[in-house]
């Protein structure tokens, strides 16, 4: 019963939020074309379901694949920086700098080089998202007690086997944490990438709906993106509990 009741406070908050929004628009506080009332967003969601669904599929594919590229890139970078301190010294400052780049200035030349297809979206998502995966994976690697590599040395382990048995598994919870942080940002990155050049996707819908004063349609697209982010987050949490149950287990006596 507890499990069933757990989302109740969230639903209650949503109800209050949308109720207040509905009342504000209905009472004439703002023009429906500037801020659509929730009921008209939901009506649009139904009326335009075909259009929204097909464009959602485009964006969903970009977001999921882009996050996977970001995960692979971020994980590989974290591992290589962990194993090669000199590479870390050279690359880490640049990775930080890459995060300060406003994405649109990159999105436009990427579209110029790679066209309206999937590739520029994946690159934009990967650039925006990989860094949080680098940071969380590296902090996972840092949780390894320095005595463990020493222990492995007295067991005559090679550097690779020490990494494989002692360090790599410790990095996995960090990878998951990074992915969770990344997914939400990946949604926004995908919208930016689509707005720089695309002919489908929810970001494209958002871009084209504005000038046509199809505000309710734009809000419906945004709502779908939010729900999708929540779904991905939930799936990822479930996958983490399934694959890394030990990360959720308290140690017997509470020592670290």
């Amino acid at each position: 019963m507890r499990r069933v009741l757990r989302p109740l406070p969230t639903l209650l908050l949503l109800l209050i939020f949308f109720g207040a929004w509905e009342l504000y628009v209905d009472s004439g506080g703002v023009n429906n074309l500037i801020l659509p009332a929730p009921h008209s967003v939901i009506a649009t969601l139904y009326d335009d379901r075909g259009l929204l669904w097909s464009n959602f599929l485009v964006s969903a594919k970009e977001i999921v694949l882009g996050s996977l590229v970001a995960a692979a890139l971020g994980f590989a970078m974290a591992i290589s920086m962990h194993l090669l301190p000199r590479w870390r010294g050279a690359a880490y400052p640049l990775a930080i700098a890459s995060q300060a780049i406003p994405v649109p200035i990159l999105a436009v030349p990427l579209v110029f080089w790679l066209g309206f297809g999937l590739a520029p979206k994946l690159i934009v998502i990967a650039i925006v998202s990989f860094f949080s995966i680098v940071v969380t994976t590296m902090s996972g690697l840092a949780t390894v007690d320095p005595a463990l590599p020493k222990l492995m040395a007295t067991f005559d382990a090679t550097r690779w086997r020490t990494f494989r048995h002692v360090e790599l598994p410790a990095a996995l919870p960090g990878l998951f944490t990074g992915l969770k942080l990344t997914l939400v940002v990946a949604v926004i990155a995908d919208v930016l990438a689509e707005q720089a050049g695309a002919n489908s996707g929810l970001g494209y819908i958002l871009l084209t709906a504005g000038p046509q004063l199809l505000t309710a349609e734009a809000f419906a697209a945004a709502l779908i993106l939010s729900l999708f982010a929540m779904l991905l987050f939930a799936l990822l949490t479930a996958a983490e509990r399934l694959t890394l149950p030990w990360a959720y287990q308290p140690r017997g006596d509470g020592r670290s």
Binding site: D145, A147, L148, K150, L151, M152, A153, T154, F155, D156, A157, R161, T162, H165, V166, P169, A170, L244, W246, A247, Q249, P250, R251, G252, D253, R255
Partner: protein, 254 residues
């Protein structure tokens, strides 16, 4: 089977498994040089259990790392047979089951998972851990974790075991049980043991010799032979007397 690595050592006519002579080891830090060990000498014969007791920061961990070849001395000589470390606290891998943790030394040598498990299984049985083979460390008691940790280092197959305060994290009752258990295991599975501890009673109950170290820079103050029959009882007057003597040497007895 029993004590095979040590037997090999004896067969080759090597009597000293651990030989440190006039060792100095210092560490430079921003605040200056810290001398961990100075004129430190220590010997352990094959199959001997030597306990090293001393105040905190007397270079005991440095001593073990020198024995294990993880550090080299600044001067003096260290000649040791291959040694496996048993680190302070259990440091088991939280994601791995008891059997996979115990098999770590085998995996470190490149033995596959299934073969390593097969090799470890009879040992788990012997150590009373059979039922817990598939449990992760988080599901084991403190005493069980220490047994897995000891088994992990034992299975490295090295003639020398360097034990770094193996039971320091346990409560007093479990610690006493584990000391009895370790004495029993080492009677069957002979190794040359250097046991660093701050528990003088543990040292006297388990060791053939108790080496008392000075505060930093660490060196040997006194080397007490413990010529008492085993298994030893901690309330035995002879044990109590030796314990008192070691405490006097540490400067805390009366």
């Amino acid at each position: 089977m029993i004590g095979a690595p040590v037997q090999e050592q004896l067969d080759r006519g090597e009597s000293d498994n651990v030989a440190l002579d006039d060792v100095r080891r210092a560490f430079r830090s921003r605040r200056g040089t810290v001398v961990a060990l100075e004129r430190m000498s220590l010997r352990a014969q094959a199959g001997e259990i030597v306990a090293v007791v001393g105040p905190s920061g007397c270079g005991k961990s440095t001593l073990l790392e020198l024995i294990c070849g993880l550090q080299t001395p600044d001067s003096g000589s260290v000649r040791c047979a291959p040694a496996a470390l048993m680190p302070q606290r259990d440091l088991l891998l939280p994601w791995a089951s008891a059997i996979d943790n115990a098999a770590l030394a085998l995996r470190a040598r490149g033995i596959g998972r299934e073969e390593a498990r097969r090799e470890v299984t009879p040992w788990l049985k012997r150590f009373g851990l059979e039922e817990f083979a598939r449990r992760r460390p988080g599901e084991l008691s403190g005493g069980m974790r220490q047994r897995v940790s000891f088994l992990r280092s034992l299975l490295a197959g090295k003639p020398v075991l360097a034990l770094d305060e193996p039971f320091a994290s346990l409560d007093a009752i479990t610690r006493a049980e584990m000391q009895g258990w370790l004495g029993h295991v080492l009677a069957e599975e002979v190794r040359t043991v250097v046991l660093v501890t701050h528990d003088v009673e543990e040292a006297v109950v388990l060791a053939d010799r108790v080496v008392v170290m000075s505060p930093r820079p660490g060196r040997v103050v006194v080397d007490l032979p413990v010529a008492l029959p085993r298994p030893r009882v901690r309330t035995d007057p002879a044990v109590v007397a030796l314990r008192a003597q070691a405490l006097v040497e540490l400067g805390v007895g009366r």
